[in-house]
């Protein structure tokens, strides 16, 4: 089974990972570009991806918002020598949980049916990736003629497959 998978990988002539870049125009806050990657032209509608990225951006804005609640959290934590952080979940962590739930839902509803997989930015140092879901591709492509070209093999997926 391994070697079949390997052959199929060799035959894939498409980039298997697309990266959505960070948008630093607002400073160091976590924000992603809504620019549509051309590699996904035939895979997904522009508006859907844009919507996902915009929602993610709004989640991060909420997490990093500096206002009354963050001051309270900061001052209270400082008064306890930040020991309270060992037992309590910070606001940022709460929002990250919401984000991973949202990404899971988006993958189930929108991306998996199109053979794509959106990764959580936290897994990649706040860098978003959209992967070609290998399971879908292996079912459609069997013993095709291998072609040369830029072949990017996803080692993490490989590890999971084994």
């Amino acid at each position: 089974a391994f070697h079949n998978l390997q052959e199929l990988r060799h035959s894939a002539s498409l980039v298997t990972k697309v990266f959505v870049q960070r948008d630093y125009s607002e400073g160091t806050v976590c924000r992603f570009q809504t620019k549509f990657p051309s590699e996904l032209d035939n895979r997904i509608e522009r508006t859907l991806l844009e919507e996902t990225v915009k929602t993610l951006n709004s989640y991060y804005v909420e997490a990093e918002k500096i206002g009354g609640q963050s001051y309270l959290e900061g001052c209270l934590a400082c008064a306890t020598a930040y020991i309270v952080f060992l037992c309590m979940e910070t606001r940022y962590e709460k929002v990250l949980k919401k984000i991973s739930g949202y990404i899971k839902e988006q993958n189930e509803k929108i991306y998996a049916p199109r053979g794509l997989l959106l990764t959580d930015p936290t897994d990649r140092g706040m860098r978003v990736t959209i992967t070609n879901d290998l399971a879908q591709r292996t079912s459609s492509k069997s013993q095709g003629q291998p072609t040369t070209g830029h072949i990017l093999v996803d080692t993490t997926l490989f590890v999971k497959a084994s």
Partner: protein, 387 residues
Amino acid sequence: MSAVMITRKVRKWEKLPGKNTFCCDGRVMMARQKGVFYLTLFLIVGTCSLFFAFECPYLAVHLSPAIPVFAALLFLFVIAMLLRTSFSDPGVLPRALPEEATFIEMEIEAANGNVPAGQRPPPRIRNVQINNQIVKLKYCYTCKIFRPPRASHCSICDNCVDRFDHHCPWVGNCVGKRNYRYFYMFTLSLSLLTIYIFTFDIVHVVMRSVDNGFLNTLKETPGTVLEVLVCFFTLWSVVGLTGFHTYLISLNQTTNEDIKGSWSGKNRVQNPYSHKNIFKNCCEVLCGPAFPSVLDRRGLMQEDSPASSTSAAPSSSSSSNPMSQTMKTTAPLIPNEHTPDDAKPSIAASAEKSDSPKEEDPPTPQVPPLASPETEADASLAKDKAQ
């Protein structure tokens, strides 16, 4: 050919590149050189112990019992802040995995166009506009990413750190986005503790000398001399450092930016991150959100290792196989700059090493895995793992 393979679950921190040491199964993260950190701990604990032993009994009786109590609280706060600063992830940015590195390389190639032979390619810089200022993002050759604004690569820890301030040997760690406020609280509280101990040492000596005479006092409480000495030298350094960082915080600058003069001078860009309001800057730096770590240190991952180095281990060699294919097309592009401690990218490294014998393009599906290049890859993989 049968092969026995051991698949074991390892924590991700065991495979992280960079020169950090991890303790408590990945919960604690520090730099490699910890000697000065132990010195810091020793000085603080030692001096405070002397204070509690010599001064406090006298002062509690003759002045107020609140004095040792407050000293104890302050001491605990200082230690808590020190350990928080030293043990936490300063905001390390994970390195780009091979696909991402290749993707970025391709983008750079596309942007540069055709560079005539013999000419140096242009420097890898991306310009972004932040707050109406043009900020240059530099490419990190070690981590293979374009550093986010305010991030910098620490050569001691060999990591890119977000909002990198400086590497502090006294705390045995980098100071960055995630632990800067703990570092500042540490210097602030240590300044207060030092001033407190120094003051009450003097008070104690004066009070006791009135009764017993100066020399007798020193004989009765020899620890006082040591404490005053340590406090005197600490005062100048730590209080000065606290003042310096207070200045930086009010301007929302990092030590790194200050040293490099990033925002100083007329012709240079003005600090785009400053709110132009001291209060707002302080609030953002000290009371901003607590950023979680993006380094998954305690996550589990599979590690496949061949049972014996001579037999062909399918997984390790087949994982190096496609890697070498990738590396073949991109090897001339990616500068081969990697630290010797690279564990995960060692697969790529071994694939790069076995690059030359793999000149024959293996496009046809080869079910019995390629015999000779495989053992080469295998041997170099085993060699890398042994490092």
